[in-house]
Protein backbone atom coordinates (compact mmCIF):
# COMPACT_ATOMS: atom_id res chain seq x y z
CA UNK A 1 0.00 0.00 0.00
CA UNK A 2 1.41 3.32 -1.02
CA UNK A 3 1.79 6.01 1.56
CA UNK A 4 -0.17 8.41 -0.61
CA UNK A 5 -2.61 6.50 -2.76
CA UNK A 6 -2.35 8.32 -6.04
CA UNK A 7 -5.36 8.17 -8.34
CA UNK A 8 -3.28 9.48 -11.25
CA UNK A 9 -1.00 6.53 -11.02
CA UNK A 10 -4.03 4.31 -11.49
CA UNK A 11 -4.74 6.01 -14.82
CA UNK A 12 -1.23 5.40 -15.97
CA UNK A 13 -1.46 1.70 -15.13
CA UNK A 14 -4.84 1.45 -16.86
CA UNK A 15 -3.32 3.02 -19.96
CA UNK A 16 -0.46 0.56 -19.84
CA UNK A 17 -2.86 -2.37 -19.45
CA UNK A 18 -4.90 -1.16 -22.41
CA UNK A 19 -1.73 -0.86 -24.48
CA UNK A 20 -0.69 -4.40 -23.65
CA UNK A 21 -3.88 -5.82 -25.09
CA UNK A 22 -3.82 -3.62 -28.16
CA UNK A 23 -5.10 -5.88 -30.92
CA UNK A 24 -4.39 -8.99 -28.92
CA UNK A 25 -5.13 -12.28 -30.59
CA UNK A 26 -8.30 -12.70 -28.59
CA UNK A 27 -10.65 -11.95 -31.48
CA UNK A 28 -8.44 -13.52 -34.12
CA UNK A 29 -10.15 -16.91 -33.96
CA UNK A 30 -13.37 -15.38 -35.26
CA UNK A 31 -14.12 -13.75 -38.59
CA UNK A 32 -14.15 -10.20 -37.21
CA UNK A 33 -11.04 -8.15 -37.54
CA UNK A 34 -10.10 -4.79 -36.15
CA UNK A 35 -9.91 -1.49 -37.94
CA UNK A 36 -13.58 -0.67 -38.35
CA UNK A 37 -15.62 2.04 -36.73
CA UNK A 38 -16.37 2.17 -33.86
CA UNK A 39 -13.17 0.99 -32.16
CA UNK A 40 -13.99 -1.39 -29.32
CA UNK A 41 -12.35 -2.42 -26.10
CA UNK A 42 -13.32 -5.77 -24.60
CA UNK A 43 -13.00 -6.45 -20.91
CA UNK A 44 -13.59 -9.45 -18.73
CA UNK A 45 -15.49 -8.74 -15.56
CA UNK A 46 -15.73 -11.85 -13.46
CA UNK A 47 -17.39 -14.42 -15.69
CA UNK A 48 -18.98 -11.83 -17.94
CA UNK A 49 -17.71 -9.60 -20.70
CA UNK A 50 -18.03 -5.88 -21.28
CA UNK A 51 -17.62 -4.26 -24.68
CA UNK A 52 -16.94 -0.53 -24.52
CA UNK A 53 -16.82 1.82 -27.46
CA UNK A 54 -16.57 5.57 -27.95
CA UNK A 55 -19.41 7.03 -29.97
CA UNK A 56 -19.32 10.78 -29.34
CA UNK A 57 -22.07 12.76 -31.00
CA UNK A 58 -24.22 9.75 -31.80
CA UNK A 59 -27.67 9.85 -30.26
CA UNK A 60 -29.14 6.69 -28.78
CA UNK A 61 -31.79 6.75 -31.47
CA UNK A 62 -29.14 6.60 -34.20
CA UNK A 63 -27.57 3.47 -32.77
CA UNK A 64 -28.61 -0.04 -33.58
CA UNK A 65 -27.35 -2.95 -31.54
CA UNK A 66 -28.09 -6.55 -32.34
CA UNK A 67 -26.89 -9.70 -30.68
CA UNK A 68 -27.13 -13.10 -32.23
CA UNK A 69 -25.30 -16.02 -30.76
CA UNK A 70 -21.92 -14.62 -29.86
CA UNK A 71 -21.91 -11.96 -32.56
CA UNK A 72 -22.69 -8.33 -31.79
CA UNK A 73 -23.61 -5.90 -34.50
CA UNK A 74 -23.11 -2.19 -33.99
CA UNK A 75 -24.60 -0.02 -36.69
CA UNK A 76 -25.66 3.57 -37.00
CA UNK A 77 -25.10 6.98 -38.43
CA UNK A 78 -23.15 9.87 -37.10
CA UNK A 79 -24.03 13.28 -38.37
CA UNK A 80 -22.23 16.55 -37.89
CA UNK A 81 -24.23 19.67 -38.62
CA UNK A 82 -23.42 23.34 -38.78
CA UNK A 83 -25.76 26.31 -38.83
CA UNK A 84 -26.53 27.61 -42.28
CA UNK A 85 -24.74 30.92 -42.05
CA UNK A 86 -21.49 29.82 -40.53
CA UNK A 87 -17.97 30.02 -41.79
CA UNK A 88 -15.88 27.03 -40.86
CA UNK A 89 -12.48 27.53 -39.32
CA UNK A 90 -11.69 23.98 -38.42
CA UNK A 91 -13.28 20.74 -39.39
CA UNK A 92 -11.92 17.65 -37.68
CA UNK A 93 -15.02 15.74 -36.66
CA UNK A 94 -16.06 13.05 -39.09
CA UNK A 95 -19.55 12.04 -40.06
CA UNK A 96 -20.84 8.95 -41.76
CA UNK A 97 -22.48 5.62 -41.31
CA UNK A 98 -21.02 2.51 -39.76
CA UNK A 99 -21.83 -1.13 -39.45
CA UNK A 100 -19.59 -3.45 -37.54
CA UNK A 101 -19.94 -7.00 -36.35
CA UNK A 102 -17.78 -8.42 -33.61
CA UNK A 103 -17.73 -12.14 -32.95
CA UNK A 104 -16.59 -13.01 -29.48
CA UNK A 105 -14.82 -16.29 -28.82
CA UNK A 106 -17.23 -16.97 -25.95
CA UNK A 107 -20.88 -17.92 -25.79
CA UNK A 108 -23.09 -15.00 -24.82
CA UNK A 109 -26.53 -15.10 -23.23
CA UNK A 110 -28.27 -12.90 -25.82
CA UNK A 111 -31.35 -12.31 -23.66
CA UNK A 112 -29.28 -10.99 -20.81
CA UNK A 113 -27.35 -8.38 -22.78
CA UNK A 114 -27.64 -4.86 -21.42
CA UNK A 115 -26.59 -1.69 -23.20
CA UNK A 116 -25.81 1.66 -21.66
CA UNK A 117 -25.01 4.83 -23.54
CA UNK A 118 -23.83 7.84 -21.61
CA UNK A 119 -21.59 10.80 -22.44
CA UNK A 120 -20.62 9.34 -25.78
CA UNK A 121 -19.59 5.97 -24.38
CA UNK A 122 -21.53 2.85 -25.26
CA UNK A 123 -21.12 -0.09 -22.91
CA UNK A 124 -22.51 -3.52 -23.63
CA UNK A 125 -22.73 -5.94 -20.75
CA UNK A 126 -22.62 -9.47 -22.04
CA UNK A 127 -23.34 -12.23 -19.57
CA UNK A 128 -21.60 -15.42 -20.41
CA UNK A 129 -23.97 -18.21 -21.38
CA UNK A 130 -24.59 -20.70 -18.62
CA UNK A 131 -23.25 -23.59 -20.67
CA UNK A 132 -20.04 -21.71 -21.28
CA UNK A 133 -19.17 -20.72 -17.72
CA UNK A 134 -16.30 -22.59 -16.21
CA UNK A 135 -17.21 -25.22 -13.67
CA UNK A 136 -14.94 -26.34 -10.93
CA UNK A 137 -14.39 -30.03 -10.74
CA UNK A 138 -13.73 -31.67 -7.44
CA UNK A 139 -10.98 -34.22 -7.35
CA UNK A 140 -12.43 -37.33 -5.89
Amino acid sequence: MALFPDPFDALSSLQQALDTFRTSGWLASGPSGGGSYPPVNVFRKGDDFVVITEVPGIAKSDLEIQVKGNTIRLAGTKSVTYPEKASLHRRERLAGRFDRAVTLPVEVDADGVKAECRDGILALFLPRAQRDTPKSIQIA
Partner: protein, 132 residues
Protein backbone atom coordinates in the same frame (compact mmCIF):
# COMPACT_ATOMS: atom_id res chain seq x y z
CA UNK B 1 -23.31 16.62 -46.11
CA UNK B 2 -21.56 13.31 -46.46
CA UNK B 3 -23.67 11.11 -44.25
CA UNK B 4 -23.73 8.29 -46.77
CA UNK B 5 -20.02 7.84 -46.42
CA UNK B 6 -18.50 5.02 -44.46
CA UNK B 7 -17.13 6.27 -41.18
CA UNK B 8 -13.41 5.60 -40.92
CA UNK B 9 -11.47 4.79 -37.79
CA UNK B 10 -8.85 7.25 -36.64
CA UNK B 11 -6.36 6.75 -33.90
CA UNK B 12 -6.86 9.11 -31.04
CA UNK B 13 -4.43 11.98 -31.16
CA UNK B 14 -2.12 12.01 -28.22
CA UNK B 15 -1.20 15.33 -26.70
CA UNK B 16 2.33 16.45 -27.41
CA UNK B 17 2.96 19.25 -24.99
CA UNK B 18 5.87 21.59 -24.55
CA UNK B 19 5.34 21.55 -20.84
CA UNK B 20 5.56 18.33 -18.96
CA UNK B 21 3.07 17.10 -16.43
CA UNK B 22 4.19 16.11 -12.99
CA UNK B 23 1.81 13.17 -12.97
CA UNK B 24 2.21 10.25 -15.34
CA UNK B 25 -0.40 9.42 -17.91
CA UNK B 26 -1.33 10.31 -21.43
CA UNK B 27 -3.64 13.09 -22.50
CA UNK B 28 -5.56 13.24 -25.73
CA UNK B 29 -6.46 16.08 -28.04
CA UNK B 30 -10.21 16.19 -28.68
CA UNK B 31 -11.27 16.38 -32.32
CA UNK B 32 -12.75 19.81 -32.74
CA UNK B 33 -14.81 21.86 -35.13
CA UNK B 34 -14.71 25.62 -35.00
CA UNK B 35 -17.11 27.82 -36.84
CA UNK B 36 -18.11 31.42 -36.74
CA UNK B 37 -21.48 33.02 -37.15
CA UNK B 38 -22.28 36.71 -37.16
CA UNK B 39 -22.87 36.69 -33.44
CA UNK B 40 -20.56 34.08 -32.04
CA UNK B 41 -17.66 31.75 -32.36
CA UNK B 42 -18.55 28.10 -31.73
CA UNK B 43 -16.14 25.42 -30.66
CA UNK B 44 -17.37 21.82 -30.80
CA UNK B 45 -15.21 19.16 -29.17
CA UNK B 46 -15.56 15.41 -28.97
CA UNK B 47 -14.76 14.21 -25.49
CA UNK B 48 -16.34 10.81 -24.96
CA UNK B 49 -16.52 9.72 -21.34
CA UNK B 50 -16.26 13.17 -19.84
CA UNK B 51 -19.06 14.12 -17.46
CA UNK B 52 -20.29 17.66 -16.90
CA UNK B 53 -18.70 17.89 -13.47
CA UNK B 54 -15.29 16.89 -14.80
CA UNK B 55 -15.15 19.59 -17.42
CA UNK B 56 -13.19 22.78 -17.04
CA UNK B 57 -13.39 25.65 -19.49
CA UNK B 58 -11.28 28.77 -19.01
CA UNK B 59 -10.67 31.86 -21.08
CA UNK B 60 -7.69 33.89 -20.10
CA UNK B 61 -5.63 36.36 -22.14
CA UNK B 62 -7.49 35.33 -25.30
CA UNK B 63 -6.54 31.70 -24.75
CA UNK B 64 -9.42 29.30 -24.49
CA UNK B 65 -8.48 26.20 -22.58
CA UNK B 66 -10.68 23.16 -22.20
CA UNK B 67 -9.86 20.30 -19.86
CA UNK B 68 -11.99 17.19 -19.64
CA UNK B 69 -11.25 14.45 -17.18
CA UNK B 70 -12.51 10.94 -17.54
CA UNK B 71 -13.62 8.89 -14.59
CA UNK B 72 -11.47 5.80 -14.91
CA UNK B 73 -12.67 4.31 -11.63
CA UNK B 74 -15.40 2.77 -13.82
CA UNK B 75 -12.73 0.45 -15.17
CA UNK B 76 -12.10 -1.03 -11.76
CA UNK B 77 -12.41 -4.79 -11.62
CA UNK B 78 -12.30 -5.03 -15.39
CA UNK B 79 -9.57 -6.95 -17.06
CA UNK B 80 -8.80 -6.05 -20.69
CA UNK B 81 -8.75 -8.92 -23.15
CA UNK B 82 -8.76 -7.03 -26.42
CA UNK B 83 -8.33 -3.31 -26.98
CA UNK B 84 -8.39 -0.98 -29.95
CA UNK B 85 -8.10 2.39 -28.29
CA UNK B 86 -6.72 3.90 -25.15
CA UNK B 87 -8.35 6.24 -22.70
CA UNK B 88 -7.14 9.40 -21.05
CA UNK B 89 -8.05 12.91 -20.09
CA UNK B 90 -8.59 15.49 -22.80
CA UNK B 91 -7.04 18.89 -23.11
CA UNK B 92 -6.83 21.49 -25.82
CA UNK B 93 -6.38 25.22 -26.04
CA UNK B 94 -6.91 27.78 -28.74
CA UNK B 95 -5.73 31.36 -29.04
CA UNK B 96 -8.78 33.36 -30.04
CA UNK B 97 -8.52 36.11 -32.57
CA UNK B 98 -11.96 37.52 -31.79
CA UNK B 99 -12.89 39.61 -28.81
CA UNK B 100 -15.27 37.53 -26.76
CA UNK B 101 -17.96 38.63 -24.35
CA UNK B 102 -16.78 36.48 -21.48
CA UNK B 103 -19.94 36.95 -19.44
CA UNK B 104 -22.14 35.28 -22.01
CA UNK B 105 -20.11 32.18 -22.86
CA UNK B 106 -22.32 29.14 -22.80
CA UNK B 107 -21.44 25.47 -22.79
CA UNK B 108 -23.45 22.39 -23.52
CA UNK B 109 -22.49 18.75 -23.29
CA UNK B 110 -24.47 16.16 -25.24
CA UNK B 111 -23.47 12.57 -25.94
CA UNK B 112 -19.84 13.31 -25.22
CA UNK B 113 -19.74 16.38 -27.44
CA UNK B 114 -19.04 19.76 -25.91
CA UNK B 115 -20.42 22.81 -27.69
CA UNK B 116 -19.04 26.15 -26.57
CA UNK B 117 -20.71 29.30 -27.80
CA UNK B 118 -18.50 32.34 -27.42
CA UNK B 119 -20.46 35.49 -28.27
CA UNK B 120 -18.39 38.19 -29.92
CA UNK B 121 -18.00 41.37 -27.93
CA UNK B 122 -19.99 44.36 -29.17
CA UNK B 123 -17.08 46.73 -28.78
CA UNK B 124 -14.77 44.55 -30.81
CA UNK B 125 -14.41 47.07 -33.58
CA UNK B 126 -11.26 47.39 -35.60
CA UNK B 127 -9.08 49.95 -33.95
CA UNK B 128 -7.80 52.74 -36.13
CA UNK B 129 -4.32 53.94 -35.53
CA UNK B 130 -3.35 57.27 -36.94
CA UNK B 131 0.18 57.92 -37.83
CA UNK B 132 1.28 60.98 -35.95
Amino acid sequence: MATAQELAVRDKKELVSKEEKTIPGRYYVPYSDIYETNEALCVVMEMPGVEKKDLDVALENDVLRVDGRIDFSKYEGMEPVYTEYNVGHYTRSFTLSNKIDQERISAQLDDGVLTLTLPKAKEAQPRRISIG
